[in-house]
């Protein structure tokens, strides 16, 4: 079988999963944050999945915590320096 292209309707689940969950991550200090939540996309993700469903499955909380932890780890070895070096 041939893979369905990302533009296909069937791929929309992957589209959301891939674009909001995966991909390289930049350090927290350089990245714009929303109300100190160190990721972008959380609200969008909640909106698209339906908050109730997400909460029901515990996915949102788990994911949110993981993202925070990830960002936090990144934050320590970080920068200001990107700005300062300029």
């Amino acid at each position: 079988m041939d893979p369905d292209p990302p533009s296909d309707d069937d791929a929309v689940v992957d589209l959301v999963d891939v674009l909001l969950r995966e991909g390289a991550v930049l350090d927290a200090d350089v990245v714009v944050t929303v109300a100190d939540v160190p990721l972008v996309g959380i609200k969008l993700r909640a909106a698209i999945a339906g908050m109730t469903t997400m909460t029901e499955y515990g996915l949102f909380a788990e994911w949110d915590e993981r993202m925070r932890a990830e960002r936090h780890e990144g934050g320590h070895r970080s920068v200001e320096s990107a700005g300062n070096e300029i």
Binding site: R21, E22, G23, A24, G41, A49, E73, A82
Partner: protein, 285 residues
């Protein structure tokens, strides 16, 4: 957008002015850059910010995109996706960034960041070169699975016999045991199926990541049966090999297969790009 603005001039910590929405990083190609004409989220014109042998694809944006409108969000995601796809067609496989990644400090900050992470980014681009991400999801039909398991399992056959002779009270207990045994068998079958899928995919591709069976985005129907999900990194030949393999499993235990791609290698991008570039984990493999 323009390279002539003052860039890193304003550096107050809370400032979100002079932001750059980051799509992906590619190998620098000044010829291709000269005729670069791609639009991004909401039709924003994209520009290339280059340092050394690398270019970042960006557009001017100070605030993250936010909306409660599902269709709006979906449109943005499609915009983002098709932009990265177009860039990839010209510049080769990119290192893709998560949706809504916005850097403050203008083009200068982006250049400084590219310099600091040149090694990690170059290694990643080399590892990803010529390959794209594909997603494989296999869902087994629970009913079909149960039918098959029921035929084969001695323990179930035995419980079945007991059930036939049982009084009402005993029948209740036996039925519970029966259901528990069925669940065990389904779980076990999913595990072995998933392990063999993993092995077969590994044999055919550069890299495989198991994504687990949780429905990550219940945007459409939640899988009802046992499910296994994978991301694989594959070139064109490997992609075809995976497709042929998936054909062979499509009917086993009522399996339905979803195969999508090519995606920019989101799952295989470096996890984090530290501004100092010291200890960012390299590209997978």
């Amino acid at each position: 957008m323009s390279s002539d603005d003052s860039g890193g001039g304003d550096e107050s910590a809370s400032s979100t002015r002079n932001g750059r929405y980051l799509y992906c990083v590619v190998r620098r190609d000044d010829d291709a850059a000269a005729s670069f004409d791609v639009s991004g989220v909401d039709g924003a014109p994209l520009t290339l910010v280059s340092a050394g042998g690398l270019s970042a694809v960006v557009h001017d944006r100070d605030e993250p995109y936010e909306s409660d409108e599902t269709t709006q969000v979906r449109d943005w995601l499609y915009d983002h996706q098709s932009a990265v796809e177009r860039v990839g067609e010209t510049f080769g496989t990119p290192v893709p960034f998560r949706f809504d990644t916005i850097v403050r400090g203008g083009d200068e900050a982006v250049r400084a960041w590219l310099d600091a992470n040149a090694e990690t980014l170059n290694e990643a681009l080399t590892a990803l070169d010529g390959r794209w991400e594909y997603r494989v999801e296999v869902e087994w039909d629970r009913e079909a699975l149960v039918d098959r398991l029921t035929e084969d399992d001695e323990r179930l056959a035995e419980l079945d016999d007991r059930l036939a002779d049982a009084s009402e009270g005993t029948a209740f207990l036996v039925e519970k045991q029966y259901d528990r045994r069925v669940s065990e068998l389904v779980t076990e079958r999913r595990r072995t199926r998933s392990a063999s899928l993993d092995e077969e995919l590994r044999r055919r591709t550069a890299e495989v990541v198991e994504l687990g069976d949780a429905p990550q985005t219940p945007l459409t129907e939640t899988p009802s049966g046992p499910t296994a999900r994978f991301a694989v990194l594959a070139d064109d030949d490997e992609r075809d090999a995976v497709g042929s393999y998936l054909d062979t499993i499509a009917d086993e235990d009522g399996a339905s297969v979803r195969y999508t791609g090519p995606w920019p290698p989101y799952t295989f991008a470096p996890d984090a790009c530290a501004p100092t570039g010291e200890d960012g984990p390299g590209p997978a493999e």
